[in-house]
Symmetry: C7
Subunit: 289 residues, 7 copies
């Protein structure tokens, strides 16, 4: 490079100045973005506290502000890393290009592979984006009982790509977030116990319904269900008539996920009350020639 032309030198100087500009823009840009993320997280945490305290006023609210805050911070940290990495890559490419290293073929060959990769990676990206959206919307948290369509169970871990559940039989489920088209959360609100009792289709309906009212009273009076039942079980009447049976229904509102024992108690008491009242049941077992 001895004997270089001053013109060349100036070009080089200008390139160096531009490299410096790139570095400055990269550092400042990263700082601004990370700071913006942190501010957003802080604001979201504050808002979540208000939301949570608002919810806390309602009897059934179970979400804790701690859980939400913790998650927000996780996302903040993660976003910061993504921003830092992205800006570093871009700055590197820009500097290489200013140094006249031919960046185009480098990017072109990456682009060809990128198409193949992009198609294949779309479900991965979909899973992550769905996971991020779910966490931001706080659809469920660790300990909630949820129905994801492909598996139902108690949430053990809310990941960015997969959600880990444990179902009632003890099996652990890893469900990809992008495959969850709708989530049913059974731990926010109440549950409903539904007891369907079939009787012979030609029985006296009024007498049978009276017996069921009595059964409902008995279940409501059991100490075991004092905290579980949100209201006295409700005998709604004749629910269906088929050629084989007339079905009567009792419905009870319970605390979340506490409906199974209530439902079983209702069935047991209903059967007892109907037998006591002499209501026949529509079973082939009672056909007597």
């Amino acid at each position: 490079m001895v004997g270089m032309d001053p013109m060349d030198l100036m070009v080089e100087t200008e390139a160096l100045a531009r490299i410096g500009l790139v570095v400055v823009v990269a550092v400042v840009g990263r700082w601004l973005l990370v700071r913006g993320i942190n501010l957003a997280v802080k604001r979201a945490v504050k808002r979540s506290e208000k939301v949570a305290s608002g919810w806390a006023g309602k009897a059934l609210g179970v979400r804790s502000p701690e859980r939400y805050e913790q998650r927000l911070k996780t996302i903040g940290t993660l976003s910061g890393s993504v921003v830092t990495f992205t800006i570093a890559v871009i700055a590197l490419i820009t500097i290489l290009s200013l140094l006249s290293v031919p960046v185009a073929p480098l990017l072109a060959s990456a682009g060809i592979g990128g198409v193949a990769l992009g198609f294949g990676a779309q479900s991965l990206v979909k899973d992550f984006l769905a996971g991020i959206a779910m966490i931001i919307e706080d659809q469920y948290g660790v300990g909630d009982l949820i129905d994801t369509g492909s598996a139902t169970g108690t949430v053990e871990d809310v990941g960015l790509r997969v959600t880990r559940l444990r179902d009632a039989t003890g099996q652990v489920w890893y469900v990809r977030n992008g495959e969850i088209l709708r989530v049913g959360n059974q731990s926010q609100g109440w549950s409903t116990a539904v007891a369907d009792v079939p009787i012979a289709p030609d029985e006296d309906t009024a007498k049978a319904l009276a017996a069921l009212e009595q059964a409902a009273d008995e279940v409501a009076a059991e100490g075991e269900f004092a905290d579980v039942l949100l209201e006295r079980p409700n005998v709604v009447g004749v629910n269906e008539m088929t050629p084989y049976a007339m079905t009567l229904r009792i419905v009870a509102k319970t605390a979340p996920n506490k409906h199974w024992p209530v439902q079983r108690a209702l069935l047991e008491q209903a059967q007892n009350a109907l037998t006591a009242a002499g209501i026949r049941q529509p079973a082939p077992g009672v056909i007597a020639g």
Copy 2:
């Protein structure tokens, strides 16, 4: 940069002039777009008032202009933010490019990642666009009972990405808007109670239908259903004949979502009337050798 050529200076001056132009265009463009959005919102609000007052004249209309107006304003604000953000990004890129910072590799590498991201993000974008369209068309609002295909319940929140429902059992559902291919809104208009009563296939049809007419009269006379029944229940006749039973049907038009109690009352009264009229039911339980 000492000893720069006047030519260079002029180029710089021109570039600065162009940067200025970009800034002006950006600011003016943003102002015009945001103003356009606001005008569109205002016009839509006015139109919605007319629509709502027109609807209010009809007995079953339940949509309130307040709800619609509120939503329109939300969309207006959101659109303004999107416009501001987009224009800022474009102006930044243009200015960088005028400053001879090599924008191409920056965009190229973003493009490669963008393809992968674009594929993965398509369901996210789809959800948002579907959400926006739904809100603009006012398909449902908070408090409506809707059927989204994957879940049925009362709307608790209409979000841009997800709709939150609470079903009859108390379970909360988060349904992605883009996955809702069709929505059934059960709170706009009326509901229908359908009572199917099976009788022995060789019974006297005329006698049985007369008994059902009597049951319909009794249900229509109950005070409980005075506001619920939109018309006297209608005995439509023999609905089906199978080898096991002949099925008679009563149909009743009710206020939205009030059909369940009517249907149960119809079943109960029909069973009573049929028993009183001595019509046999087709149950195995009544076979007597």
Copy 3:
């Protein structure tokens, strides 16, 4: 810009001339396109009148030329807006480019977002295009009873993105046009009442069919169905034999959507006629030891 070179001036002059050309082309092009659309609409309206009057000659035709004309005008207005908007955007870009504002990065960054948006928006675009095609082909109109696959009901509104139906139970359905793979229109032509009557498999077929002919005569003679029945109900014979029953079928052609009452009357009369003729029915209820 003092002391500019005449060469530059000429370049500027030429650029201005070209900007002028762009504006002229844009205005003229828009005018031509909008006029073409209006002409096409007018021609279509004329043709629709001929079609409608041709159809009106046929007994079952229910399409009104007014409905079609109104829709065509809606599409015309809409197309005009689209054309005006598109041409304005293109002219703006061209002018900016002639003013040497760097349009490429602007479009490039729009392109990156455009890919993500394009993927997500495809179902929106699909819905609109399907809606336009449906309206042009006049597959159904307000008041028709249609089957869209995901919902069946009376059309309340034919939108570009969604079709609004109200089904028989009073529920309102919003069905996205792009999701309608096939439409069944039940209001163009006639409907068919089908009454399947099961009898004991070892009964006298000739006697049973004679009884059904008598039932068909009685239904045809009822004044209620004078305008509804397009022909005397037709007893087509033994339709199926299973181990449990032999099924006889009566078929009747009715005015559109009037088949339900006819079908029920046929079932009732058939049961009466069979009982009168002493034909046993295959029900478990008639087993006598």
Copy 4:
């Protein structure tokens, strides 16, 4: 443009010469293409006549050469319009580009919208291409009874985008051509009547089959089916044994879509013959204690 350089003038002259060349190429190219299409149509029409006359020699051929010819001409006209439109657009763009109007940004912005539109429009294009292929292959014509998977009925109209059917119940179906994965045409060839007759599983098979042969003879002798039956109904034997019944089968080849009355007549005669021969049927109705 006063005082222009002769060089510039020459450039302009050359550009004008090229514009002329473009116009000539466009006109000649269009003429050649349209002529080629017309020739192809003519050749196809001739070939179709040969095909049709060849088919006419076969007993079951029902396709008319008129139908095919008419359709070919429709396609020819349509293709000509497409060619004319396409060439006009291309020539316009080329001329604009020769006039130095910046065509690139114009196309670029069209390209961005084109991606979004292209994705959304793919089902539209798919429908059209499938329609064209179907018409070229003459899979079905107006009046044929076809099964498209989503709807079965008689073809009323073969469109480029949709096929219109009317099913047996009088309902009109609009089926998108691109959604038809396979078509079953029931009007080319013959149909088959299948009568399945269940008898008690411990009956005398030989006696029962003899009775069915007699029933087949009687149906074959009915004058009503003289033109319908392509051969004497064939008693194929014991088709299935379940714990409840032994099923015997009669099969008959009939003219297209004429199998329903034959099937019903076979069932009726078979039941009569079996009753006459004293073969018990496996119905619960015949259990006698």
Copy 5:
């Protein structure tokens, strides 16, 4: 073009030389490719003869070398046309470009339409490619009985886009080749007749199996099945036990598509043998009080 510069002339001369080169390359390239295709076809025909003669030695081989050869030639001709057309188009574009006609906008606008078309046309291309692959692999030929998933029948025509079948009921099916995910060819090899005979679950198994062996002997001895049965029917034993019946199974290997009559004969003889041996059948019809 009077007074043109010799420089220009030379450029023109060089362009002409290049046009000549393009024409020569196009002609030679086409000749080479078509010749290569012809050679490949010839080689394939030869190989197919060897394959066919090898298969002919095996008893069940039904493929004829003539059929394969004919198809190969069809593909050869078709490929030649495609090659000729493609090369002509490319040469035309190249020559236009050498004549300085602006080819880029021409291709660009084609490209935009091409994306929309490409998406829509993908099922068309898929059908053709699948058809070509199927024909090359000779998966089935005219006269074979195949199961394509959406339709089962005898192949009437093997097209590049669709396969035409005629099913057992006489219905013609047009199945798109790209929609055939797997093909079952029932005309290459043998078929299996399976006769399942239910008996009372508490019967003497040994006695019942002995009766079935006797039935198998009788069917094997029937002259009708001499060419059809590839081996004596095999009584495999007790196949299943349900609460209602014990099912015994006989299996027989037959010539392709000849299993139905064998299966029916086995059922008939089995029922006769079991009745003769006094084995009770599990039918409700035989319950005697």
Copy 6:
């Protein structure tokens, strides 16, 4: 190259200098990336040890740190190879381009094929990415019993593209990782034995439940289940009432995949206890005339 211009020489020298830079960057970049991967693996191994020891404290934890470590190292090695290969390819392309070999057409033609390949290869890439994510998240390991949706069995091999399972019948399954939308791992935690016992619907519920409690005690007392049962089986009560039977349920928590023998023992003891207590079962077999 004799008599070359010094200018050219300098260009060549500069190109050589740039080639050198590329080589240096490639080597250093590869070294940095591989080192980064190794560090990440080491850190992950350390973290896994902590996780594993944490889990080991819990009674049901079955994951060994060895398994995880081994897998991490496999991934580390693999990633290193990928990085080395990618960098080598990019460096090669860059050097060729610096040597003025026209790389663009080379990449362009690769790009065209790349699109076709990219679409086709997407499921391959999807499988690999899903496999990598699964291994990183340690969803399952060799020896675990998992439910992949399409197959359930014991994992024999965890590959990057496919997972090999052996199901309970001895069949080996190769399941593509990208097709596994959710995984159920039955070897992490516990399993649940569920015994449903139907009784006559009019039986004495209290007596029946007492008998089941006794059966639960007996199963809990069996030595065979000492290590298997995690708690005494729990009689939860009346689970369902149908017209045919009342179903009682016993539930027991067991060691992973040990629930089948417990469930069978519960059914056997329950049946014994109910028979001993004289509770009738709802079977048709016990109908006595």
Copy 7:
């Protein structure tokens, strides 16, 4: 070209030198790649021998090293052809481009067609890639009995695009490799015979299980099953209780695909033993009034 400028000559000389370089790189590159493939094949063959001999030591291993080796060589040859073809095409394009033949429009028009083709060809490419992956992983070979989801049978041919199977009924299946989401190979390991025996729900369980143990002993003692049974059949106990029956289960591990005769023998012996022990079966046929 008379009187050409020495400058031009030098350019031409340089171009020729570059063409030479391209040819050399192409030849050397091809040689290196093909050699690499051959080496990889050799190494894989060696490894397969070790794997195979390792497997041979295990009782159930059925894979032969010959089969694997043969397949590897096929892949090697195929890969070599692909490499040769690809390099030839690229070299041709590069040389044309160095000769200043305008390659860009050539590639551009290919690109437009390539998009349409690429979309359509993706299932073809998918099939090939899946086929290659399957062969490399040796998921199955000729003679194995596999379950591909859409068809189950014995493999007759493992192709790159399709796998040919012959199922138990003699039907030949062509299954596209890309459509095989999971494969079940029933010839690697063992099979399981499962015999479910229903008895009356109120029978003596202990007595019934003892009878089944006896049946298991008898089957284990049959000479026919000496090589087939891998262990004595195992009576696992009461498997299920329904209102109609109590189901007992026997399970036996057998050699691959030999479970059907074992299962049938178990059912036969179990029925004999239960009848001998006087255990009633739950069949309607045994109801005696």
